[in-house]
Amino acid sequence: MPHLDAAYNLARWLTRNEHDAQDVVQDAYLRAFRFFEGFRGGEGRAWLLTIVRHTCYSWLEKNRPAEVSAGFDDEAPAGAGAGFDPDMMAAEGGNPEAIALQNAHRRILNQAIAALPLGFREVLILRELEDLSYKEIARVVDVPVGTVMSRLARARKLLRQSAPLRAMSGLPAAEVKQ
């Protein structure tokens, strides 16, 4: 199954729920098969992620329309993100290792990413976790390359300003000197 991990990772981060992510991924793969003509060898992952993202958006618009536009505006000054992700906390808390102090930083960072508005979260995940180039992200998200860069800038700025991250002293990224 090509690129299934990448597909699930993106869907999981966008829907913030493992069951919904699985539904979305299955639907996306069925769509991908139907439109197989669009497949280009070598660009397979970005192409598939485009379909996964599209499927996520369709699903969110139908089931959680408020999340699609919540807190997301390319022009507006950076503000607070949407709420925290209880599913993420539950998933992390179930692991005994997560109790270790070191993992507290990790959990808070993950919660802060999950709390980012959808439009900023997706570019950050595609860049940092999927290691896509700006050009590939531009294709997946269907915006100009310049917008990819400015959204990444905003996403990282929002993260650095996020209150729990700032409160953590151990994580270097939490320091915001302004």
Binding site: Y8, N9, V25, G41, R156, A173, E175
Partner: protein, 252 residues
Amino acid sequence: MNCRDAVDLVHGYIDGELDLVKCLEIEQHLGACPACKVQFDQVRELGSGIRSHAVYHAAPPALRARVAAALPRESGSDARAWGWRGTAAALALATLLGLGFGLALLQPGTEDRLAREVVAGHVRSLMADHLMDIASSDQHTVKPWIAGKLDFSPPVMDLAAQGYPLAGGRLDYLDGRSVMALVYRRHGHVINLFVWTQAPEADSGVRSDSRQGYNVAHFTQAGMAFWAVSDLNPEEFKAFVGLVRDQVASAR
């Protein structure tokens, strides 16, 4: 460059997405502006924090089974579905053939081994989404970028006029050494041209081969080895290799 421009460009710089000119401009600005330098350091630390601490959600095994079960029902005996499964089958076959090939020959000749490494390098560059370290159609951008990273100055040919535009370059690793890989495009096909220095020996003619559905050709000239590989049709591929060889010869 002022701080206003630098705010976003710092991100492109950290992500390795800026062209050479913008890179130099931002480096100059960061050297002169302590405030932006602090921002830069923080963004870079945040990035490494995310990459090492953010959860990568791998697909649960149940999902793999579920999607696999859903697909054949959906697509039936649709020929298009074969494309995908065919790719997997072809890869498996190629692996088997590669294994058999290696076993049968035990000590394959240098040329065979190189040809296999070159094809593997080509496939890897396409599969791993790591086709280019520097994306530029300008030989005067690619050449200095490459030259700063290798111990030789490889030729970077501009073949856009002949219909083979340069797409970029990257560093690769072949035959136990760092080599240059130039990436050219032709009608959506990717051509990887690997170049490295060799012990001085007589220039060789072009030798071609076809492996795992890819055309491979190589020649030695001016103390450098050139290996080209692509899924381009044999005629156009041959024309490309001829053009490269002519340009290298005329540049001497």
